[in-house]
Symmetry: C2
Subunit: 335 residues, 2 copies
Amino acid sequence: MPILNLDEMRGLAERVLVAAKTSPENAASVAQALVAADADGLASHGLSRLPAFADQAVSGKVDGFAVPEVTRPKPAAVRVDARSGFGFPAIAAGLAEAQKAVRETGVVAVAVGRSHQSGAAGFHVERMAEKGLVALSFNNSPAGLGPWGGNRALYGTNPIAFACPRGSPGAPLVIDLSLSKVARGKIKLAADQGEPIPAGWAVDKDGNPTTDAKAAMAGTMLPMGDAKGAALALAVEILSAALTGSNFGFEASSFFTAEGPPPHVGQFFLVIDPATFGDGFAERVEGLLQAILVQPGTRLPGQRRLENRERAQAQGVEIPDTLYQDLIRRAGGQA
Amino acid sequence: MPILNLDEMRGLAERVLVAAKTSPENAASVAQALVAADADGLASHGLSRLPAFADQAVSGKVDGFAVPEVTRPKPAAVRVDARSGFGFPAIAAGLAEAQKAVRETGVVAVAVGRSHQSGAAGFHVERMAEKGLVALSFNNSPAGLGPWGGNRALYGTNPIAFACPRGSPGAPLVIDLSLSKVARGKIKLAADQGEPIPAGWAVDKDGNPTTDAKAAMAGTMLPMGDAKGAALALAVEILSAALTGSNFGFEASSFFTAEGPPPHVGQFFLVIDPATFGDGFAERVEGLLQAILVQPGTRLPGQRRLENRERAQAQGVEIPDTLYQDLIRRAGGQA
């Protein structure tokens, strides 16, 4: 498999998107997020998404030239209309506004509507924590999870992400978890590669347990934490879709195909300035993290991600050969 | 077992607390929340807590006369110092301030510090949803959950609660879930009654699985959703304690005994006015809820709670005889 450094990956991704009816600004925003996911070892949210994204830009399912519209309906509220464009530039625009506003107000809510895939949810909140802020995010996606006791998917896998600064040098603490037992992208990757999935990840379209990744893609994933996880997924669906004027998971078109109307999913963020409530927040967080780490057998959430990132920055990332050839062809033959 | 109506229960609870060094205002606030929990069938957060609360008011572990201090450090931020008093009046004071502020700002964060037990977490957010608001809460409690892979409890069972209005008459949607497989109160109730607990709820102090409720009380509960649930508990611990200037779970004294310093746990709320982001929020929520209910085998989160509440309002609540006799004695013999 070819190995590319992160700059090469970003450059290639941008060329693929620009060749597919996308503005250079939007292409840069999407490329940055996808390559960051690959660097963190989250291949299912990395360049593997690019062929589908490019096809959707060409078909018009996503508007690659959209300029997100950012408004501030209330002092602590930011509204973003993604205008059927990519999710990444819309989210970045909303969070940039929140970052300014939050020093004045203490907390800011950001509602992103008429949006598209948000990628690895930790990516966005980590940007806020790098500025000393605490951030929570709630995203929905095309239906993959059903209500507890039911047999048909209504919600997305609906990741919750949390990030905050630490009282030590280095990356912030980032917690990023989808509410399915596993991320849908992992099942998609297994389906694409013709590999089976472990039992307990999903049921097929008739509600029966399955280890066939393709049958699982046609069925419903199981929530983490059973009924409690399903209830959390409902809360995330309400925050990310009902509050942002977006489609629910069962109303949204696929992120994987070029056909159909825009997915018009939503993202909801809460950004908090911890200094609002007192001093020493990051040091208190660090104390808790050290109390975790003195227990043998523990590691912090996101630790593997940071190890992957360090290795990727030094050595680059392996890209599956089929994907690489596809991207080169889409970029017009430039390596 | 004696059956009391809800007014009788509240009256009895108030008399018990006032007899135990508590102001009438604070006694009314605590009684209202405990009786609401009993009415909802959540006995582990109901009058069963009252003997321990009264003992703590007498010993001074909780200051029954505390008047919570509410400040507004930023337009969208409310800070409450519970001043070592009961959690319920402190939370109510903070949310009352948030309810006023949120119409101006769109979202408000409420940080309650130096607090005590918050009871059934759904109680507080439901009050906000009754006013047409969306609310999220994050509470910590004395250590009951360990980090994933570890063997010692650091976090509380750390409930997350969510509530929002529906587009139909009646009670709001309320989601209230502790991040342990079950609420600690259920294990305490089993321990008090000398009953075993199901496997998978907890480990003993050496990290071994147990069905002995007393051994479980001395050990660590298991999180819902395994590693993901443990990561969520960490996020809740940071929001409820680090952000509010409160004790982490492993620093907090017990809610069940009269000895030691105040627990000084924390509560963090986010209150959102959905009208900030557009019209029709409650109707969209209702559409989603109806899409759940058309699937056979489903029910909405909190449905059993509402059925219990209706029955309790009509028929009263059975109080265990030992508890009833104890409360009557504490209230000075008045029935």
